[in-house]
């Protein structure tokens, strides 16, 4: 099968099944299917007839490839050559799916793209030998870069998903804005209506000067409508609308960094409280404590000896090694400076 001969089947009026010769004229609902094994076109009736029983060879003369019913699908393109090319692209694209970010320079990326394209060309148009080579290359590359291929695939999916979400969000926002506008207009209309009614009532019920009433009412209506207009204008955002959902716009991100796991809350803000100048033992030999150790009357209330040890030790050592001058010194200076600045400021004015 040469791809050239397929490319010439580009006649939309060619509505005849090459196998059973039925046409759209006779069978209005005729559907054509192809099998990506050989890309020979036939109608769905033929497919049912020939392949329902199980795999069979393609009925097109000189083809004879073994086909299964499962493999048949409607063609997306009228030009089956393109259909085939796209299928191949799909296969290659699943493997060669590097992204521009992964390359040092644009030139590298472009070279990579060209190599991929060459490979696809070999697969599509190449002689048997070239095809074989290309297949080999594809396989080898897949084996070598399994992990990265997976990563990029995921990244691609995420990106597509993001785009989709962005669009739906935009559409929704536009719809909301439209609704709001309609509501406002409705309200405005009702307002005007109401003012009119009021005016009529006043005209009917009071004996003021009718022209004055009408003029006044007209003014009120105008004022209201212009006020409303200003309102809508000011509520519109200045950058020309279409506020993007900010949680969605992460376009500039280069590499996705996994969020750092949150640590437990530390009330002392990182101050290390383990004693440095002494070691806290579990036991201290002390006569008047010995009794307590075993006295259930005391222990039952929750009295804990280790806590007592810790507190006493802490009290004994606290304050050691703290030099007040060191602590105060650096603090004192900035205070002076700030004061000076203030003075300077005063001078200026």
């Amino acid at each position: 099968m040469s791809p050239k001969s397929i490319a010439l089947v580009d006649n939309p009026m060619d509505d005849m099944c090459p196998i059973c010769k039925s046409t759209r004229y006779l069978n209005k609902g005729i559907k054509f299917l192809i099998n990506p094994e050989c890309y020979h076109r036939m109608c769905s009736t033929c497919v049912d007839r020939i392949f329902t029983a199980g795999p069979a060879s393609c009925p097109v003369p000189l083809c004879g490839k073994t086909l299964r019913k499962r493999g048949f699908k409607p063609a997306f393109f009228a030009d089956l050559g393109i259909e085939r090319e796209v299928d191949i692209r799909k296969r290659v694209g699943q493997v060669f799916n590097r992204r521009q970010e992964e390359f040092e320079t644009l030139l590298d990326y472009n070279d990579y793209l060209q190599d991929t394209e060459d490979l696809i060309f070999d697969l599509v148009n190449g002689m048997a030998k070239e095809k074989l080579q290309a297949e080999e290359k594809l396989k080898a590359y897949r084996a070598m870069n399994l992990q990265e291929i997976e990563d990029n695939k995921r990244a691609g999916l995420e990106e597509a998903d993001y785009e989709r979400r962005k669009e739906t969000a935009e559409k929704e926002a536009a719809r909301q804005r439209r609704l709001k506008l309609i509501r406002e207009q409705e309200e405005g209309k009702m307002d005007v209506e109401k003012s009119r009614r009021d005016m009529l009532e006043r005209l009917a019920n009071t004996d003021e000067d009718p022209t004055a009433i009408t003029r006044q009412a007209q003014k009120v209506i105008l004022k209201k409508s212009s006020a409303r207009r200003n309102l809508t204008d000011s509520s519109s955002d200045p950058n020309g609308g279409l506020p993007l959902d900010s949680s969605l716009s992460i376009r500039g991100l280069k590499k996705k960094v996994a969020p750092i796991a949150e640590e437990a809350y530390d009330p002392f803000g990182g101050i290390n409280l383990t004693p440095t100048r002494y070691v806290l033992n579990d036991e201290y030999e002390n006569e008047w404590l010995n009794g307590i150790k075993t006295d259930t009357r005391i222990l039952a209330g929750g009295y804990s000896l280790p806590e007592y040890y810790a507190r006493t030790m802490f009290e004994a050592f606290s304050g050691l090694g703290v030099f007040i001058n060191d602590e105060v010194g650096p603090k004192a200076k900035p205070e002076v400076r700030i004061k000076k600045e203030v003075e300077i400021d005063d001078d200026v004015f």
């Binding site: 796209v86 030139l107 793209l113 060209q114 506008l181 212009s226």
Partner: protein, 769 residues
């Protein structure tokens, strides 16, 4: 006269402005003289780019410029260093004996290119026998900056000069553009990014740009970026791609070096490949961001055969899309997503499509460019769709009309945002002046086109006498209101009242009379109804009846007959459409138009999907409400129609607006028309209108001497000085007052200008179809 101060402000401060000046009152010449004076006064001699719409307007402007320069010469007593040129298409300027006989402009362009392209010259130098154009090659023998002597050259003049000296007028103009003081050409050379890139890129930043007759400028902008793709054009595109492929394999055998060279250049970037991006560039490209041009071409379309396969895939994809039998409208991002899913075409190579194709065509040295036009269109589309996310929409309409059975799919790629095309102009040039006779309301234009103005001014007209009579007719003699609103337009009473109006005015109008309808459809239906009512027979007694048709040839024949009938005293009525050819470019001065009758408000056809999309875009992006825009658009067309009859200070005419809805839309008319409408003449019935028209015509019949105009609409030097003095005093007084009662002034402002908003809602209920 008083506008000069405002404009100089624009020029000095460097900013844009919108001006409305009554048509036919020397708008062009006053603008020109002011700018020329400014230009010659300052040493840097900023260049003036004057853009007009049609060839005849360009010719007119050139003639006025010529007269102006002669006048300056007389006054100054010396000739200034000055060169003014006009530029139009090759079709109008070509001198080549066989090329100029071609009918279509595209063919002339293509044939000329095949005679003048760079590689043709190379071949010739190598001694090959190739056809060339002697007019073009002669130019190379001249000094490149002095192809034509100083002076103002009208199109005719430059043609004659070209014939005498055997040099091509088209290329003379184009090459001299950077060496002249004034260029007058069509909008497209600046706005259409495909052309602008080549023609106008050398113009320096401080040029003063004027768009004349610019009331439709937003539509021009939009059209220049929109494309329609049909099945037929796709078929041709496929054929073009096939041809390219054949040529490539041919060239691989014979001249592989060329392809390799191209390839090497593309690795560097498009600009590198583009040293020859000059006048002989084969095809044109849509606006590309500069950074894109500097970037290297993506690797997967670098090689010629890869690129052709890429194009084929894209075209096939479009073909598949066209098979869908329901209306689809989608945004570029969603189109791209679908495209990627089915063809593995990424956005990036798509953006380079048009440039890449140009480069390929040049490398292959193709000469029969017409064959590749459809392919080029597809490539342009590809580039645009991948470049702009916002402001464009794809609309696929499988059937021509709702009733059609046979599918004839069209993929409209429509630009919704007029600002995109004109943005480069505003960015690049520091002073842009947009002007027209009818460009109200002024604030709409900066909003739509996305720029800020330093000056926005609408000038009223100063006339020696009331030389035009605008009236609004809202009901017939039987007091039934008339309107072309959708519900009532076909009611016999309305049609009959319109008919009576026509009959009455054709009785009283001397010579020519023009009638405008909102659409062809309505015109046809109303004419057939009039036929049945015997109205046309009645009109026929007084005037010849002529009708505009969508066919240009027929219309021009009708126009010719009309003119003859107006001149020989028979008199004629021309029935035409407010959005047709007649309403835009054709003047009905003096006897050619004494009455213009505008039947109905010329609303656009609102069911069009493209219009709907645009309305939505305007609302979303620029906060212009649908009704405001539609009403604005209708009124600018109405004003345009009205302006047709008054083309000078000694001209006179009646302007009749016949629709009750005009009553409320009056404020949207240009100031000079609106001011001239007397309050007693805004709500007339047919018989009252006839009465005041008769009175007006009787006044006009009185002799009117030139000297009557002196001091009112034309000023002598003394008048001018006096005016200046009083103006100064006025200014001082105003300033003083303003200081004293600053607060009060502020209060007063809030109530202006919202008169028509209230009614807009109600009006739209009766929109036309």
């Amino acid at each position: 006269m008083c506008n000069s101060r405002l404009e100089t402000e624009t020029l000095d401060a460097g900013g844009h402005c919108v001006l409305e000046m009554p048509s036919g009152t020397g708008k062009t010449v006053s603008l020109l003289s002011l700018i020329i004076a400014y230009q010659q006064y300052y040493p840097e001699h900023r260049k003036l780019i004057y853009c007009s719409r049609t060839m005849s307007e360009i010719e007119k402007a050139l003639a006025e410029l010529k007269a102006l320069m002669r006048y300056r010469e007389d006054q100054l007593g010396r000739t200034e260093e000055f060169r003014g040129l006009g530029l139009t298409s090759r079709k109008n300027l070509c001198l080549h004996p066989s090329v100029k006989r071609e009918k279509s402009g595209a063919v002339v362009d293509a044939r000329c290119r095949s005679l003048t392209a760079g590689f043709v010259k190379e071949k010739k130098e190598r001694g090959e026998d190739v056809p060339v154009c002697i007019y073009h090659d002669n130019l190379d023998l001249l000094e490149p900056h002095n192809l034509i002597p100083n002076g103002v050259w009208t199109l005719d003049g430059i043609m004659r000069y070209g014939e005498e000296h055997k040099q091509c007028p088209y290329f003379t103009s184009r090459r001299m553009m950077s060496f002249c003081n004034v260029i007058i050409y069509s909008y497209h050379y600046l706005l259409d990014p495909k052309i602008a890139e080549r023609v106008s890129k050398e113009l320096s930043k401080d040029c003063i740009v004027v768009f004349d007759e610019a009331h439709n400028i937003d539509n021009v902008c939009i059209e220049s970026l929109s494309t329609d793709i049909t099945e037929d054009s796709l078929r041709k595109a496929t054929r073009g791609a096939q041809n390219l492929e054949n040529r490539i394999s041919e060239m691989k055998d014979t001249d592989a070096d060329k392809l390799k060279n191209e390839y090497a250049k593309l690795v560097e970037g498009l600009r590198g490949a583009d040293e020859a991006r000059e006048e002989d560039a084969f095809m044109s490209n849509p606006a590309l961001p500069d950074d894109l041009l500097k970037e290297a071409v993506p690797g997967n379309i670098r090689r010629a055969e890869h690129f052709v396969a890429f194009l084929k895939r894209f075209v096939e994809y479009l073909k598949t899309r066209m098979k869908v039998r329901q209306v689809i409208s989608e945004t570029p991002p969603s189109f791209l997503a679908h495209l990627k899913e089915h063809t593995y075409i990424e956005k990036k190579p798509l953006r380079f499509c048009a440039e890449r194709l140009t480069s390929l065509v040049r490398t292959l040295e193709l000469t029969s460019i017409e064959d590749y036009q459809p392919l080029q269109e597809v490539a342009t589309f590809a580039t645009l769709v991948a470049t702009y996310e916002k402001g464009f929409l794809l609309i696929l309409e499988p059937y021509e009309s709702d009733a059609a059975e046979v599918p004839n799919p069209v993929l409209h790629f429509t630009c919704l945002d007029a600002a995109i095309a004109i943005k480069p102009v505003f960015d690049r040039f520091s002073s842009v002046i947009i002007t027209s006779g009818t460009i109200s309301p002024l604030e709409m234009y900066p909003k739509m086109l996305g720029f800020t103005t330093v000056v926005q001014e609408s000038y009223s007209m100063s006339l020696g006498r009331r030389s035009f009579l605008p009236i609004i007719v809202t009901r017939g003699s039987d007091q039934v209101p008339v309107s072309s609103g959708f519900q009532v337009r076909n009611e016999p009473s309305v049609v009959r009242n319109y008919g009576n109006l026509l009959t009455e005015f054709s009785k009283l109008t001397p010579d020519g009379m023009v009638v405008f309808f909102p659409s062809y459809l309505y015109m046809e239906s109303i004419i057939s109804m009039w036929q049945g009512m015997g109205i046309l027979d009645e009109v026929w007694k007084y005037k010849l009846i002529l009708v505009e048709t969508p066919d240009a040839q027929e219309t021009s024949l009708a126009l010719e007959t009309y003119r003859t009938a107006c001149c020989n005293g028979r008199g004629a009525v021309l029935l035409c459409v407010a959005r047709g050819k007649v309403s835009e470019g054709i003047d009905f001065d003096h006897q050619y138009g004494r009455t213009v009758l505008c039947i109905g408000v010329p609303f656009q056809y609102t069911e069009s999907r493209i219009l709907k999309a645009r309305l939505e875009f305007l609302r979303e992006t620029y906060r212009i409400r649908e009704n405001d825009f539609l009403s604005f658009d209708a009124m600018r067309h109405a004003a345009q129609c009205l302006g047709r009859v008054l083309r000078g200070k000694d001209d006179y005419g009646i302007m009749v607006l016949a629709d009750k809805r005009f009553l409320k839309k009056r404020t949207q008319l240009p100031k000079w028309i609106n001011q001239a409408i007397l309050d007693s003449e805004i709500n007339l019935s047919t018989d009252m209108a006839v009465g005041s028209a008769k009175k007006f015509l009787r006044n006009m019949a009185q002799p009117f001497k030139q000297s009557d105009q002196e001091g009112v609409s034309t000023w002598s030097l003394k008048d001018l000085e006096k005016f200046k003095e009083s103006q100064d005093e006025e200014n001082i007084r105003a300033l003083r007052e303003a200081q004293m009662q600053g607060s009060e002034v502020q209060n007063g402002n809030g109530e202006r200008g919202d008169e028509y908003d209230v009614e807009a809602e109600a009006e739209m209920m009766q929109l036309d179809h």
